[in-house]
């Protein structure tokens, strides 16, 4: 069979626009009569607050200062749980929560107005340690447990598995929060078409989700919202949640003029999710031949103030914590927990990136204790075609792990 693309080196469709500088990213859109928006964000992690916008409103060139009461529809958004507020109403749950959106005739005036808004915080105790947060003594979201998800995996009998093990390794591993730092900071433009359709141009990973979230917050049917996704300057999971889309839509509808916002790098850090830091408590047992017999793990994923994709990410960690190895007895408990930290969501690997730090170090330590090579212990336990994962999936197709390890080991002279 002759393919047009497969097996050929094809010039990417957007390549020409990108090497000539003609590709349009949202910050490259300039419209006539355009206004500029800037977001006021919380400077404390957990507090009730009140706003006084009177001084800021008097600054010449300020068109409107939006606060929670100006959100026409539901003041909420979120990919799984609607736990974000478009603009916080009375409580902030992390540093960087959006509390007001200023629209002015220039970016400079908008920035000046942000400074002139008076915010009074009544700080309340905050929780930054997810283990502490699991006690639910300080609740991040009123009336809701901080533990938002518990993934349970049970296979075989781990007591028996550890009893039969000749060597057991038990450790706690901590992974860090990671920022995507995609090169193009968030930016967007919104305007209203003649028939009332709200148009939002913003770099996003989910134009179809954004459309629904904008429609719900604006209180309009989805068909009255059009999301245009121009060139996207990197994302890596960091553009899966709403940032400025709804703020811009509100501003465009209220003012009847195009409204643009461009985040600084610093604001970009505040605005989007991070990779979940995880505390991984793990116990791995093997017999003297190096065959894995049991694995027990407890994973606590800190999702910060909002859930974003915490459930999916934590579940993926819970599944991948076995590594690509056949283990007859497995017990995993993975928790996603609210804290007052920056919120966490999707980032390259989506929960599968954190756990190998624990799993693979356990393998190395086991190999050392058994006096076999780290390559050998992996080859002895690696998934092959027909293996069953701990969560019950039979791998029926391509499972080239043994080949891959063998070739890599040869290439680096370990085999």
């Amino acid at each position: 069979m002759d393919f047009n693309v497969i097996g050929k080196s094809v010039i990417r469709v957007d390549g020409l626009a990108k090497v000539t500088g003609k590709a349009i990213y949202p910050q490259d859109i300039y419209m006539d009569n355009m206004l500029f928006g800037k977001t006021l964000r919380s400077s404390v992690p957990h507090a009730y607050f009140t706003l006084d916008t009177s001084k800021a409103e008097k600054i010449e060139g300020v068109v409107k200062i939006f606060t929670a009461k100006d959100v026409p529809g539901h003041n909420s958004h979120g990919v799984l749980f609607k736990d974000h507020e478009v603009l916080c109403e009375k409580k902030v749950r992390r540093i960087g929560d959006p509390i007001a959106f200023v629209v002015a005739v220039s970016e400079k005036i908008a920035a000046e107005a942000i400074e002139a808004i008076e915010v009074k915080y009544e700080e309340i105790p905050a929780v930054f340690d997810p283990v502490e947060a699991m006690k639910d003594e300080i609740k991040v979201h009123d009336g809701k447990s901080n533990i938002i998800y518990h993934y349970k995996l049970r296979k075989g009998n781990i007591e028996e598995g550890f009893a039969q093990s000749d060597v057991i390794v038990e450790n706690v591993y901590n992974t860090s929060m990671v920022e995507h730092a995609f090169l193009q900071p968030e930016a967007g433009v919104s305007y209203v078409e003649d028939d009332g359709t709200i148009v939002v141009c913003a770099a996003t990973q989910y134009p179809h989700f954004d459309q629904l979230e904008i429609a719900e917050a604006m209180g309009v049917p989805a068909e009255k919202v059009k999301v245009i996704n121009p060139a996207v300057g990197g994302a890596f999971g960091g553009r899966e949640d709403i940032t400025l889309q709804i703020h811009l839509a509100m501003a465009a509808v209220y003012t009847g003029r195009p409204v643009k916002a461009v985040y600084s790098r610093e604001e970009s850090f505040y605005a989007h999710s991070k990779r979940h830091p995880e505390i991984i408590k793990i116990k791995t047992g093997a017999n003297k031949e190096g065959k894995l017999l049991a694995l027990e793990a407890e994973i606590i994923a800190d999702t910060g103030a909002y859930a974003s994709w915490a459930i999916n990410v934590t579940r993926k960690s819970g599944i991948h914590v076995t590594g690509p190895y056949v283990i007859p007895n497995v017990k995993v408990d993975a928790y996603a927990v609210y804290t007052n930290n920056p919120f966490c969501g999707a980032m390259r690997g989506f929960g599968a990136t954190q756990v190998p730090i624990a799993t693979e170090q356990q393998m190395d330590i086991l190999a050392e204790k058994l006096n076999i090579s780290p390559v050998e212990i992996r080859l002895k336990n690696a998934f092959t075609k027909g293996s069953q994962t701990a969560n019950g999936q039979t791998l029926t197709d391509s499972v080239p792990l043994v080949d891959c390890i063998t070739k890599a080991a040869k290439a680096i002279g370990m085999f």
Partner: protein
């Protein structure tokens, strides 16, 4: 306000600039060269790099008034009027050195600033030449091979 004169991509401009305006804002907001990108505003990422009098500069750290009397080259100045790509642009396309594209215009200019001075750089020299430009898609290997290919194209008198 201050009036300055400068050349951008060979064309002379006389413009009024505010004292606190950066070269980056002048090029993007006033003159419409949006191929110049803002990534960090503190000279770390290199996305706003342009060539000023032969040297690569981060235009977020150059004030507009400092460009008075200077010659600037942006990405918009590389393609010929008949649409022919500059050999460096062609090499970036051919080598698949473009992903999200936000670093690309400045990366191409960094390559130009290097190759204008050193037509036969080693891999190490290429890496040093683009060391002020971040690519968060982590496409560095392909970018390095694109710069090598660009050197070949240029030494053969353009592709």
């Amino acid at each position: 306000m201050k009036t300055i004169s400068l050349k951008v991509n060979g064309k002379p401009y006389t413009v009024e600039v505010e004292e606190d305006m950066r070269l980056l804002d002048l090029l993007r907001d006033k003159l419409g060269f949006t191929g110049v990108k803002e990534g960090c505003a503190e000279g770390e990422c290199g996305a706003c790099s342009v060539i000023m009098d032969g040297n690569l500069v981060t235009s977020c750290l150059v004030m507009a008034f400092q460009a008075d009397g200077k010659e600037i080259i942006t990405i918009e100045g590389l393609q010929s009027e008949d649409g022919t790509l500059h050999p460096i642009q062609q090499a970036f396309l051919d080598e698949g050195a473009v992903q999200c594209g936000f670093c690309t215009p400045a990366m191409v200019l960094a390559a130009k600033a290097l190759l204008d001075k050193n037509p036969n750089p080693t891999d190490e020299q290429i890496k040093e030449g683009i060391s002020g430009n971040l690519c968060r898609c982590t496409g560095y290997a392909k970018i390095v091979s694109a710069v090598k290919k660009a050197a070949e194209y240029l030494n053969q008198g353009g592709k």
